[in-house]
Amino acid sequence: MNGEEGPVAVAERTPLVEMRGINVAFGGVHAVRDVSIDVHAGEVNGLVGGNGAGKSTLMRVLSGAHPADSGEILVEGHEVSIKNPRDAKAQNIETIYQTLALADNIDAPGNVFLGRELTTPWGTLADGSMEDATRKVMKRLNPNFTRFKQPVRSLSGGQRQAVAIARAVHFNAKVLIMDEPTAALGPAETAQVRDLVRQLKEEGLGIFLISHDIHDVFDLSDRISVMYHGRLVGTVDKTSVTTDDILGMIILGKRPEEVTQKDLAELELGSAPVS
């Protein structure tokens, strides 16, 4: 990928978010090992890797859900401290969790504004304004959505997903972390989410996209970062690699140029697991 035009041009700008030398350990398990990764405005960085590769843990550090043991985070070139979800949100870093992280017993507006409720001058919840704002966001995300008063428990998977996305995009996010955004969705809803990712990218957001689905990642990402057993194998420009290169990185934990004939021979024998 060296010598290509794209990456050089990108590297000249200051990344929107940059994580440097991140380490996370759970007891004896080194879940994330000295990982550095970044994303630029208007760019999707696809994060892939096998189960337990550390993708979600790395992103949980950025969203404030789990503090890093060491390493630094820079937002537009300035070092910031992210110790909890509030810190991340203060930096306009929003997350759509794989579990969606919705309070099932509360309605859509309540979930969209959870932790950031609008209040009246008397300090009470401004339910009208919150419902109004939620209706406006939803009109864009899922025009058929009508059930603003029901607890989200009673909504379908796609509708719940829309609520989680609405929460992330309503507050002028600059950086969006999407953890397996299409894993639980049907084909139509998946297409809807893909369109949304493209649209948000156009609007200049920087997006980290975690996905098991290599086609999703290839389709949507500008760069692809591969993790293997807690470390970053590498970040490559999508136009300079093939899906096979990426699969090789995921399975072998080596960059394409490092792969030997012996590795490939072993792969042939073991019939590589895809996804």
């Binding site: 404030g64 859900a65 979800p85 992280a101 209040t119 009470t124």
Partner: protein, 441 residues
């Protein structure tokens, strides 16, 4: 059943086909069906015992006695809802009621006269006593809440320890003796003829309540109109308004048909120089007794906290999904701690009612309250799975439980017999609720 709407009708929130049926019309009023069901159950219980007793139960004085008995439990149950909704429990409420009740007694009989030099029945002594009691309740609740939320000891253990420890402290407060003789104004908190607000104020309160209901209905409709949200059909608004006002005015009228005991009324009339008694003696309406007024106030305040304040929203969010609340940036520990502070304050209010009724405190005051309060909350639809339960539900739950107890004792069933029935009702109520929930998503 609720999945019908999953296909997402293009506009409007209520499904029009169900319109003519009774359930469909109920849905259009957007009444909480669980609450509605409980009101029906409560009416059925009272009516049943009324018939069983040969038409003697439903009378103003009986209903007021019943309500005063239930008031203390209902007040604490409003707080227990928030504790259980946020996936915790408080077993210490009975002991805390005992401790604060004994505090009132010791303060008013010993500390105020002997240490502070305040003569008995000094004006506003009751305010001082009540403030100190609330302070004690809040402090102990806060301490337990701190250990639960910040140290991370399970609430069952912390409050079980609290149950034993606090009950033990009651003994040391009075060296094992019962204490009697409270401030005379303080005694009014316990109710009775003189501890009631009287006919005029009761009517005034009902009028304010009726106006408030209409104002809230109009205001919320206007709000939703302004934003262009779907609104209830106008007939539903009118039904709600009329039913609400009728209920409030009916209850006030009922309470105002309870009169002072004849001897007391005549004596007061003579003291005040009201002249010769009319035919049949003086009739002075008691109206609402203070414990009921306090319960109404607490129910409104707690409902407001639970549904209109961020704190209430966070309690429910944590109960629904603790991780989601955490990831949303909510300070969950502080939220949990505050639920226990509220519990302490509510226990202090209940303790005031109980000790005022007894004109003092005994060592076992508040004994087994924790069980009654938890039962009331659970009968009222609070779920131990977390995230589900309402304040008015818990208050109704307390009234359902006490109607059963009162009705049974009225027809001559003894206390163990009452416990059997209440125990069975508790399990059956929750069982029906569970089956119901399983069917409707």
């Amino acid at each position: 059943m609720a999945n019908v709407a999953d296909a997402a009708p293009v506009s409007g929130q209520v499904e029009p086909p169900a319109r003519r049926s009774v359930p469909g019309m109920l849905a259009q009023t957007e009444i909480d069906l669980r609450l509605f069901g409980m009101v029906v159950a409560l009416a059925a219980i009272l009516l049943g015992f009324h018939l069983w007793s040969g038409g003697k139960l439903i009378q103003p004085n009986n209903m007021i006695t019943l309500a005063v008995q239930a008031a203390g439990i209902a007040i604490i149950a409003t707080g227990m809802v928030l504790v259980i909704v946020s996936r915790n429990i408080d077993l210490s409420v009975g002991s805390l009621v005992g401790l604060v009740a004994m505090s009132y007694a010791v303060l008013m009989t010993d500390w105020f006269p002997h240490i502070f030099g305040l003569a008995p029945d000094t004006p506003f002594l009751w305010v001082l006593a009540l403030a100190m009691g609330i302070g004690i309740g809040a402090a102990i609740g806060g301490l337990q809440g701190f250990i639960i939320a910040y140290v991370g000891v399970p609430s069952f253990i912390v409050t079980l320890g609290g149950l034993l420890t606090i009950r033990g402290l009651v003994w040391y407060q009075s060296s094992g003796a019962a204490v009697n003789g409270l401030d005379r104004t303080f005694l009014l908190i316990g109710g009775g003829a003189q501890g009631s607000i009287g006919g005029t104020l009761t009517w005034a309160l009902a009028l304010v309540g009726a106006i408030a209901i209409v104002a809230i209905l109009i205001n919320s409709r206007r709000q939703r109109r302004r934003y262009g949200f779907p609104v209830r059909p106008i007939w539903a608004e009118i039904v709600l308004g009329v039913a609400g006002c009728a209920a409030i005015i009916g209850v006030a009228w009922f309470a105002n048909n309870n009169f002072w005991p004849q001897g007391l009324a005549d004596r007061v009339a003579a003291e005040q120089g009201w002249g010769p008694a009319p035919e049949g003696g003086w009739k002075i309406p008691t109206g609402f007794p203070f414990p009921i007024v306090l319960l109404i106030g607490v129910t409104l305040a707690m409902t407001w906290i639970a549904t209109r304040r961020k704190f209430g929203r966070y309690v429910y969010a944590y109960g629904g999904n603790p991780d989601a609340a955490e990831l949303a940036g909510i300070n969950t520990r502080w939220t949990i701690l505050k639920t226990y502070v509220l519990m302490g304050i509510l226990c202090a209010l209940a303790a005031a009612i109980v000790s005022a009724r007894l004109n003092g405190a005994s060592l076992d005051i508040g004994d087994t309250y924790e069980l009654l309060v938890i039962s009331a909350a659970v009968i009222g639809g609070t779920s131990f799975a977390g995230g589900i339960g309402t304040i008015p539900g818990a208050v109704l739950g307390a009234f359902v439980m006490y109607s059963l107890k009162y009705g049974l004792s009225f027809v001559g069933v003894n206390s163990p017999g009452q416990n059997i029935v209440v125990g069975i009702v508790l399990v059956v109520a929750v069982g029906l609720d569970t089956i119901n929930r399983r069917r409707g998503t």
